[in-house]
């Protein structure tokens, strides 16, 4: 399996009111191309910190994290931004759609950040929204969409610029079972390709069966990595 992400001995601490809190304590994890990995564990175990580091929006204190062979922390600020803009797609628990933009405009944002002309970006956005089954709701503002529809717009936004890594934070936690299932099916069918990787942070046990592997975290460590066939300990 070719590696999309390779994290070695990642340590991350936070200084909270003068108190040092270790969020990640020597994390080692490999995520392969074409793989869907889920990070699970109780609140405060370090899942969000880990995907933030994997997604390149947070720097680790020590250790090395390679994204498609690139040591993200070694890149300059400008290079980091360009790398993130081209290679990473985000799906958030709270959707984080821009409330003033309609579905098409929200989906076109990553392309516009990359410098694509607005008309072209919106055309691409329309195409992917059609794939998501939202052809009727393209002009709707986020507030006019249901939770499931908002999450589909968020997924479309994460995929529109064809990123190689998609990170999702609790993508189904606000959805009912049926909507959650639809979202996961869409994510797995549209997002996951042989040259991409998908990392999902979740508490939602209903979607565990969509994962190729599940990394269980606790207290800043990965304590167990399960596959459908076996379980490895870290």
């Amino acid at each position: 399996m070719n590696s999309a992400i390779s994290c070695q001995n990642i340590i991350k601490t936070y200084n909270t009111d003068g108190q040092i809190v270790t969020a990640l304590n020597g994390i080692n994890v490999e995520i392969g191309l074409g793989e869907l990995m889920m990070l699970v564990g109780p609140s405060g175990c370090g899942k969000t910190t880990l995907i933030s580091i994997i997604a390149g929006i947070l720097n680790q204190d020590s250790g090395q994290c390679l994204l498609f062979g690139e040591d993200f922390q070694a890149l300059t600020n400008k290079e980091q931004l360009r790398f993130r803009a081209h290679n990473i797609g985000f799906v958030f628990q709270a959707y984080n759609l821009l409330p003033a933009l309609n579905a098409i405009e929200n989906v076109s944002v990553p392309l516009i950040i990359n410098g694509t002309k607005r008309a072209i970006a919106e055309q691409k956005a329309k195409e992917i929204l059609e794939q998501m089954g939202l052809s009727e709701r393209m002009k709707a503002l986020p507030a006019q969409l249901s939770g499931g529809q908002q999450q589909r717009v968020a997924i479309a936004r994460a995929l529109v610029h064809s990123p190689r890594l998609i990170v999702c934070d609790e993508p189904t936690s606000a959805l009912d079972h049926k909507s959650g299932h639809i979202i996961m099916t869409l994510l797995k069918s549209i997002a996951l390709k042989h040259d991409r990787a998908l990392v999902i942070v979740t508490h939602d046990a209903r979607i565990f069966n969509f994962a190729d592997r599940i990394a269980e975290m606790d207290d800043g460590h990965i304590i167990k990595i399960s596959t459908t066939t076996a379980t490895e300990t870290n």
């Binding site: 969000t48 803009a85 984080n96 821009l98 003033a100 933009l101 405009e105 944002v109 990553p110």
Partner: protein, 386 residues
């Protein structure tokens, strides 16, 4: 990114209007109050502006401003006429006299006595009658504001509005009759007293008997004569003070600036308006950025650079600033237009528009800078926090 910035700004109509209103208020107060101040200060020298013909005003050396009359001997007029470079020199009387009205009440008026032969120094705009009518017996010309307001006649029917003075009506000036032969339009003066024009010789009969009665000598320099050199010559020859029209305006303006509480009172109002406007608009714009911090975080996480976000915030600030400035200045101008016939002083020169424009620009830049700092320091990882 521009359309995203604009949509973010206008997406929440309530907040958008709040920012615009804050800036409109700031712009209005930074334009309207100084415009009243400038209007008021311009009134201090409005009489000098209205007398356009002479190049030089000659007066007693102790005169501090236009209404600070220190009469000269009439022989000074002939001394000035004898100075080389003087084309002509005319006398002018200016004094405050009590006028007895039809109802028996007294009203203090600014009486201007013009050279009998040339009537130089008379009002530029005659609404009724002509300046030459002053040559008629007992003739006086009154200003329209005075005729309509302070000099108006009581209505024969009780409770009705006063009747404005008309040509043919008469006034009593220091036991002398004055017959109105014309109505003139003059710029309001600082004290806003009615202005009565008459001839110099008639003004002398109205004025209380004094040894010295000549208020000003209005001088025209000969063609190609440098007025500043002539001023020096007049000063040296007569020991009197002499100023160009602009110089006399500045003398008057500076007197009011230094010796009255007007600048400090208006200064406090303008400063308070500026601070309140800055606080309202700055705080509203800053709050807008704070409330959108998560959205900026999302854009940052997706790869938007600080420069892109900075441009977005600047665009938002420039847009709200321009709209707020336009509305504020528009409202101030509307206020001035609505008050054009009232007693209120209002003058809106282009320099004032630049001043308030700079003020609003300053507010927007400060608000945008604070917001930008917040966005630059923003950790994109905020997007994963609920």
């Amino acid at each position: 990114m521009n359309h995203i910035a604009l949509k973010m700004l206008m997406g929440d109509k309530g907040k958008y209007l709040g920012i615009i209103m804050g800036l409109t208020f700031a712009s209005l107060i930074m334009t309207q109050q100084p415009a009243i101040f400038v209007g008021l200060m311009a009134r201090s020298y409005s009489f000098i502006s209205d007398v356009a013909l002479p190049d030089i005003w000659v007066m007693d050396s102790k005169v501090q401003f236009i209404d600070d009359i220190k009469p000269m001997q009439e022989t000074e007029l002939y001394r000035v006429r004898g100075i080389s470079g003087v084309d002509w020199a005319m006398p002018m009387y200016k004094g405050l006299l009590k006028v007895r009205l039809a109802d028996g009440a007294f009203q203090t008026c600014n009486v201007i006595g013009l050279d009998d032969a040339t009537l130089i120094g008379g009002p530029a705009t005659m609404l009724k009658g002509t300046l030459a009518d002053l040559r008629q017996s007992d003739a006086v010309i009154v200003d329209i504001d005075g005729a309509k307001d302070k000099l108006s006649k009581p209505s024969p029917s009780a409770g009705q509005k006063n009747i404005p003075l008309q040509i043919g009506d008469s006034l009593e000036l220091n036991d002398h009759r004055g017959i109105i032969v014309g109505i003139a339009k003059v710029t309001r003066t600082f004290q806003s007293q009615p202005v009565i024009y008459t001839t110099y010789s008639r003004a002398k009969t109205y004025a209380p008997r004094e040894r010295r009665i000549l208020s000003f000598i209005l001088v025209k320099a000969k063609p190609n004569q440098d007025p500043y050199q002539l001023i020096e010559r007049i000063k040296a020859t007569t020991g009197l003070a002499a100023y160009t029209q602009q110089g006399f305006k500045e003398l008057t303006y500076n007197y009011f600036m230094k010796n009255t509480g007007i600048p400090i009172n208006f200064g406090i109002t303008i400063t308070l308006g500026f601070i309140i406007g800055t606080a309202i608009a700055g705080q509203t714009f800053y709050n807008f950025t704070l409330e959108n911090l998560r959205q900026f975080g999302v854009l940052k996480a997706m790869g938007a650079s600080n420069a892109q976000l900075l441009k977005m915030i600047l665009l938002q600030a420039v847009l709200v600033g321009s709209i707020g400035y336009g509305l504020g200045v528009g409202l101030a101008a509307l206020f001035g237009f609505a008050m054009r016939y009232s007693i209120m002083a209002f003058k809106l020169p282009w320099q004032l528009l630049v001043f308030s424009g700079l003020g609003v620009g300053f507010i927007c830049i400060i608000a945008a800078l604070i917001s930008i700092l917040k966005v630059i320091r923003l950790e994109p990882a905020i997007v994963f926090k609920n």
